[in-house]
Amino acid sequence: MEKDQDKIISDVTTTEYKYGFYSDIEMDRIPKGLSEEVVRLISAKKNEPEWLLEFRLKSYHHWLTMKMPTWPNLKIAPINYQDIIFYAAPKERKNTGNIDDIDPELKKTFDKLGIPLQEQKHLAGVAVDAVIDSVSIKTTFKETLAEMGIIFCSFSDAVKEYPDLVKRYMGSVVPYTDNFFATLNSAVFSDGSFCYIPKGVRCPMELSTYFRINSANTGQFERTLLIADEEAYVSYLEGCTAPSRDENQLHAAIVEIVAEKNAEVKYSTVQNWYPGDKDGKGGVYNFVTKRGMCKGENSKISWTQIETGSAITWKYPSCILRGDNSTGEFYSVAVTNNHQQADTGTKMIHIGKNTKSTIVSKGISAGRGQNSYRGLVKVLKNATNARNYSQCDSLLLGDKCGAHTFPYLEVDNSTAIVEHEATTSKIGEDQIFYCNQRGISTEDAIGLIVNGYAREVINKLPMEFAVEAQKLLQISLEGSVG
């Protein structure tokens, strides 16, 4: 069995990142570096209104006063912000929104990634907004959705067509002063998705954004704003990949969610940015601010994430439970292999009465990966009957990796019940032996155990993604018992 394991481990560590190709697309790039001119230039390129430029400049000037935080359990090589291209977009042809007008090379790229830009029949259940580098290429099923009053478009379009909605909600959950990377994003964000579900509408299909970094030396700074009005429901998916490169690329995004009274938002992420090679060279720095606000009564926000990519992941999808009886959920599987590092978790801020939150976090570390869960559950004084349950499990595969848990529980109310539990262990030899004994190979046994371990989270994903996630897990980890 020892031999088997060695073979499996070497298989795992040599598994190639299959999305690492680069497409030769004609690009429109601005010069490297960050300055007030660059911020103005990005704004001008996008023909933005004055108020948005002001927002960007305000953020930029605030960013200059900030320092990169050092508290996470991560080793980050210094980032030179003057060496990054802050805006890169495929050269525009005619902007008619017609599929035939899209660069065939681009279309090929997305076909290769398995993301349909055409409204194909077999994937009719998913509407996609495809974002490459700094801009959104194509949003499918826009018309079908529009019939129901649902707005699903690129952020730039939203600024032009629905300025009132954008103005009202942008920065209401993640203010421009929030943190170092959120402020940077507020200054230079390029594009992203915008979604508005009107009162009482249940979105009939999965909405999805696919992010692709293609150009070298660029940073990706997108911004997603999701608003579910009263009684609305939406399930939203996000996926991402990048070419394999030797240098680290920065991805600093913001996701804001607002759920009004009785609304429900389900946000799922399958994050598969380029993780760097087996020696830890290259890979994407994934520093994302994600936050949802349960604004109205009985609202619900649920985050599900499968984190398998990125050299460094640093993000905490959070819920502010402001409305009475509102619910926040966080389900996460984070996998770190080779030299990957992850510092991820959530914050649940209980403000309203009878608010509930659930946290299930599963970390899997292999190779030299370091995986940290960092979470905060805070119950404010007026949050009567608040309830939280957190569970953080870590699985260790290999003796060089690490798993860490840093939960913070702050309770200011006597009726609150807050529970946290965490375990760390490796796959038991006896578990594998049990499977072997029943004729299951060591490799399959580990796949079985890891999948069972992550099942609780994967089950929360929409069907289309669950399959992909399961495959991803298999690729990243299959059999790497230490």
Binding site: N73, L396, E410, E421
Partner: protein
């Protein structure tokens, strides 16, 4: 932490003004640590809330106050200490009384018990047993983040020294009573060194009391060395008035196959901070860390535990509980660190808290940092109330609600107390906790001060 707050300046000044006086009275070996510790303290300062280890504890209410410092013991004080008698009359122990951080005896400063154990003043031990002393003193109390430990090393000059030679089993525990008594608000520090050599077995009880109603600030460091196969228990009972601040830092260094337990019972105190560091440096070592606090009024109790698994095949277990009433606040910070290569580690941690009022607040921060794969580690933390179903169950058997609540709370606290191995002390603690829960312990036991 670059800009030094005024608060830190005050203690820096205190050092500069008094170092000659302090050094003059201390053994040369203890003095060799002072300059370096002072340097470190001036860099780190008094921990603020920005310090991760003190995130939930605001020290400024006690540190930002003008105290007289107690550097020189006076004979008259010693006489008072001589008069003090422990209330636990059936506790058969070797008693030592420490007054304001000094070993106050008019007779012998270091005594040998029949079994060969040495007990007495730290300063005296540094002079009488340089070899043993130099091997252990200053070796375990280390910190890169907590300035208070360095403040203690820089200025403390006395405390308790206990030396248990190889193979000695002590059936009677050693009891150290820390008294603070003065006519003015007072800041004092003391330093203890406990050495349990190979195959020895003994327990120590440390009781903290206040004898006068003045505002007190005590910053203590205890270093413990536990040799191979040795068994060692430390029990700390804190019963001080609401105007006293007690900071204890205990470092327990364990060698191969040793077993230790630490038990912190906090009944009363204005601001209490207990930091316990368990260093498992020999294979097969086991450590148990327990803590219980009952806080009310404006009290604040912070338990900080750091278990460091340096070598493979060690076991650790933590159990900390708290009951918070009135406007009290509590904090728990427990960390399990499994270093690379420390395979076969078993580490558990449990923290349960009950909040009784809406004005009370509890913050807890259990942490696991694991760098080895063949481990079983877990932690659990809860903050909540008494189980309504359990309450109903007891009531349905004809017991009134008040009594039922008391029973449940007592059971909650007893889970910690039952780990005290010394029977008379355990009974006494059960008794005190019961009184405390009933609200009858408005006067601290064996304390002459009425604290409202």
């Amino acid at each position: 932490m670059n800009e030094k707050p005024v608060m830190t300046e005050k203690y820096l000044g205190l050092y500069k003004d008094n170092i000659d006086k302090i050094s003059g009275r201390s053994s040369p070996f203890i003095n060799t640590f002072r300059a370096d510790a002072f340097d470190k303290f001036s860099k780190l300062g008094i921990p603020s809330k920005k310090n991760e280890g003190y995130k939930y504890t605001n020290l400024s209410t006690f540190f930002d106050h003008d105290y007289e410092s107690y550097f020189m013991p006076v004979q008259a004080d010693f006489l008072k200490a001589e008069k003090f008698r422990c209330e636990v009359t059936d506790l058969d122990a070797h008693g030592i009384v420490l007054l304001n951080g000094f070993y106050p005896t008019l007779k012998e400063k270091l005594v040998q018990l029949p079994s060969g154990i040495w007990i007495g003043s730290l300063n005296e031990a540094a002079i009488r047993f340089p070899e043993i002393f130099e091997k252990h003193f200053g070796k375990y109390a280390k910190s890169e983040t907590d300035g208070l430990i360095h403040l203690n090393t820089a200025m403390a000059s006395d405390g308790v020294f206990v030396y248990v030679p190889e193979g000695v089993t002590l059936t009677r525990p050693v009891q150290v009573v820390n008294l603070v008594q003065s006519d003015y608000d007072m800041f004092n520090q003391h330093r203890n060194l406990i050495i349990a050599e190979k195959n020895s077995n003994f327990s120590i009880i440390i009781c903290d009391h206040t004898l006068s109603p003045q505002k007190f600030l005590t910053n203590a460091v205890t270093e413990v060395f536990v040799g191979e196969n040795a068994h060692f228990d430390i029990i700390r009972v804190q019963n001080e008035h609401n105007n006293a601040c007690k900071i204890t830092n205990t470092f327990i260094h364990q060698e191969r196959n040793s077993v230790t337990s630490s038990n912190n019972i906090t009944l009363h105190g204005g601001l209490i901070r207990n930091s316990t560091y368990h260093i498992l440096a020999g294979e097969g070592a086991e450590s148990y860390s327990y803590g219980l606090f009952l806080a009310d009024k404006w009290q604040h109790v912070d338990n900080f535990v750091n278990v460091d698994h340096v070598v493979p095949n060690c076991t650790s277990n933590q159990l900390f509980k708290g009951v918070l009433d009135d406007m009290s606040t509590g904090a728990f910070n427990g960390r399990i660190l499994v270093r690379p290569g420390a395979q076969g580690t078993l580490a558990y941690q449990k923290n349960n808290n009950i909040i009784l009022t809406d004005d009370a607040k509890m913050d807890t921060k259990p942490q696991l940092e694991i760098f080895a794969d063949d481990v079983k580690c877990s932690h659990g933390a809860t903050i909540g109330q008494i189980d309504e179903d359990a309450l109903f169950y007891i009531q349905s058997r004809g017991i009134n609600k008040r009594e039922a609540r008391l029973m449940l709370m007592f059971g909650f606290a007893h889970e910690v107390i039952q780990n005290i191995k010394i029977e008379p002390l355990r009974d006494r603690m059960d008794n005190l906790v019961m009184q405390r829960l009933k609200g009858e312990l408005s006067r601290c036991a064996s304390c002459m001060v009425k604290c409202g």
